[in-house]
Symmetry: C2
Subunit: 199 residues, 2 copies
């Protein structure tokens, strides 16, 4: 189970543990906007005191940082997972696993994709996103060198298009919907790598 779903407060003990508080805060950030949410408003929405919030997190920015780390750790993990095969198979695995990460950490990835670099925490997250995009671009380039991927599309553009497809899922994918994450991951690889047209 992802840490993304807000934990229901337990009967008679209206408290959150650290993960539950983080998940609930991320939901509020996505709904109202991170910048527009004050610590007081956040505590109010969570039904806890500011002191209870500060028991787990020293600041609103620490909440943001923890959420972005959770999304980025998952995405970066897709690059380092051991895989058999050449660069094209590696790329297919990265795409597939990135869809799974997005589905399982949907609120955190949604938050990540809205980051614009308004603070040190946001700029660090953007740096990690940029490094991730570059690593995917390098992987496309290796697959091109191996002859497994068409060379008439610029590798960096191809990487952006691939992750444009993946990232666009936050606009409509809902875990409770009919489309399972595994089917969706397979569909993304099928469309983006193998193409929609029959061969």
């Amino acid at each position: 189970m992802s840490t993304a779903e807000p934990l229901p407060a337990r009967r008679g003990r209206p408290g959150y543990d650290r993960d539950g508080m983080l998940a609930a805060a991320v939901a509020v950030f996505n709904e109202q906007g991170y910048d527009a949410t004050s610590v007081s408003a956040l505590a109010g929405r969570l039904g806890v005191s500011k002191a209870a919030l500060y028991h787990h997190f020293s600041s609103k920015e620490e909440l943001l940082g923890a959420a972005l780390d959770h999304a980025l750790d998952g995405l970066e993990g897709t690059l380092t997972a051991p895989r058999a095969g050449g660069a094209a198979e590696h790329l297919a695995g990265v795409l597939h696993d990135a869809v799974i990460v997005l589905a399982e950490r949907l609120p955190e990835v949604t938050l990540l994709l809205r980051v614009r670099g308004n603070s040190e925490v946001e700029r660090r997250a953007l740096d990690r996103r940029r490094a991730f995009d570059q690593a995917v671009g390098a992987l496309v380039q290796r697959a091109q060198a191996e002859g497994a991927v068409r060379a008439d599309v610029d590798a960096a553009v191809a990487a952006r298009l691939l992750f444009g497809t993946v990232n666009s899922l936050v606009e409509w994918y809902r875990p409770e919907g009919p489309e399972g994450a595994e089917t969706l991951a397979r569909d993304v690889v099928a469309v983006a790598l193998d193409g929609l047209r029959t061969r």
Copy 2:
């Protein structure tokens, strides 16, 4: 040329015509958020009086409606353009032309993709977007029936993935960048329809 670029105010006549005022307003909406921009703030940013604004547009919502219409008219036009060939060629043409529309009407399409249905004007735009998506889904389905497009991916999901790829361009495409709109349109068709993998 698109009406998207803010028209420079002419020397000694600090005025906008209707298109120029619309383009300048859309730029402000994208920068500050439509809901967060008051008519007074908008007039201030444009360096005109509220009366000058109201000379061309009766309300902030009329500005929004005109911008969204401009984006949607362009997208819908990709469906009705006459094309030779079967459904798959039609789909390729729609994708190609949608990238060109996005590149030429980037500020209006950006605004469209942020619409969440907060007013009657926004809900009408969302209805048109939904009808557009359904028409693309129907086109994928026809191409599947013709055997030109793989049938193992749900047509509605395929349509969403295709336009997820197209729409993600607003995140990084810049008209002044090295990637021309025509090359990009070709790349999107190549990756999404024919696949990145060599055949």
